[in-house]
Symmetry: C2
Subunit: 218 residues, 2 copies
């Protein structure tokens, strides 16, 4: 399915334009780079400052790019591991349950999953430009009320709690390491890719936290 989508995008001349994939109908609700995404409330200069606080450098950008090659063929399996983690933790799975039936909402899970797979590639490719920055805050709104349910027409919990949103930095980056080891990279390169993933995911969960924060405190 992924290959089919890429084929369609390449045929349409839409692949490889900029850092964020042009939207295809195969990724529901994926709007990165589109004009409908609101402008970020912090500047690119403030993003650079945040990167300094995170010790995030050009070396990390290179390590993330390196990770794409080894992650892309495994992205469905990788996101499957993350879904397994969520499914094994009732306090996390709750955020995919339909409020009326009490059951996990299969369509909601599937729509989020398609975006989650694309997010892996976007994290590896990120150029930290204005489109990328804007979309981080859109992702934040989609974890917070009311954006969480409206994006996918779901009827689940109003929002993911702030504390769990940021905490998920750890399972995401811990379980990614065996996937980073699947290529022909040296141990030092795997270490560098892993460290870059930790920094990038924490950077993103910090940005996603914006709607949870009192005005002026971010």
């Amino acid at each position: 399915m992924r290959m089919t989508m890429m084929t369609v995008l390449v045929a349409a001349g839409l692949a490889g334009c900029g850092t964020l994939r042009a939207q295809g109908p195969e990724i529901p609700g994926y709007t990165a780079g589109q004009r409908t995404v609101a402008s970020a409330p912090i500047s690119l200069a403030e993003l650079e400052e945040l990167q300094k606080s995170l010790l995030f450098t050009e070396d990390d950008v290179r390590a993330l790019r390196m990770s794409r090659e080894v992650l892309e063929p495994n992205v469905e399996e990788l996101v499957g591991v993350w879904y397994g983690f969520v499914g094994a933790n009732p306090h996390l799975l709750a955020h995919f349950r339909d409020q009326t039936t009490g059951e996990p909402d299969g369509e909601y899970l599937a729509r989020v999953r398609a975006r989650f797979e694309q997010w892996v590639l976007d994290t590896a490719d990120a150029e930290y430009d204005q489109d990328w920055l804007n979309y981080q805050f859109e992702i934040g709104r989609r974890h917070h009320a009311p954006g969480k349910n409206t994006t996918d027409g779901a009827d689940s919990t109003a929002q993911v709690e702030f504390r769990h949103l940021v905490a998920l930095t750890i399972p995401v980056t811990t379980t990614i390491r065996p996937f980073l080891e699947r290529g022909d990279h040296t141990e030092a390169e795997v270490d560098a890719m892993h460290a870059a993933w930790v920094k990038s995911v924490l950077m993103q969960t910090i940005l996603w936290s914006y709607p949870y924060i009192h005005e002026g405190d971010f």
Copy 2:
């Protein structure tokens, strides 16, 4: 000075009682375990849930304990590295500048530093009991307005921005690794101690964020 303080505490029968050090006059503003510290707004059961989201287990508790032995003799040097990082970043050093003179406030820096050194040991020793949990929120208030300045009678910035507070998880845990390597531990043990430190510091910066978060969103 640290040894002197320990000697005094041992002589007074105050050392080793519980997970948090009884306060000595040598650590200004250190109030862990005292009745003046307000009760945490989340329960111990909610803390356990957060630990699950962080993949934080008994193995991490053991790895943190293991780290104490190698960190304690180096704690002044370690915190010196962190202070060097803050001093090299104007957007972080700003939070130690006196608003009137514009200069770094030496007394404020010294008071915070003494607590920061104790924090290293408390992180290694933590038993995640009610006193520990309560004190995390006290530390949060001391990064947020008005607690930041009042604790030390300082006249500096009103608060540390949320985004930088959580981001500091990375420099703290990246620069600690060479210190963890100073003992006789295997590489696997050093990896385990380092991973546990990353989880614990992220857990703490999440808890410290509480006063920044909209009511009901934490």
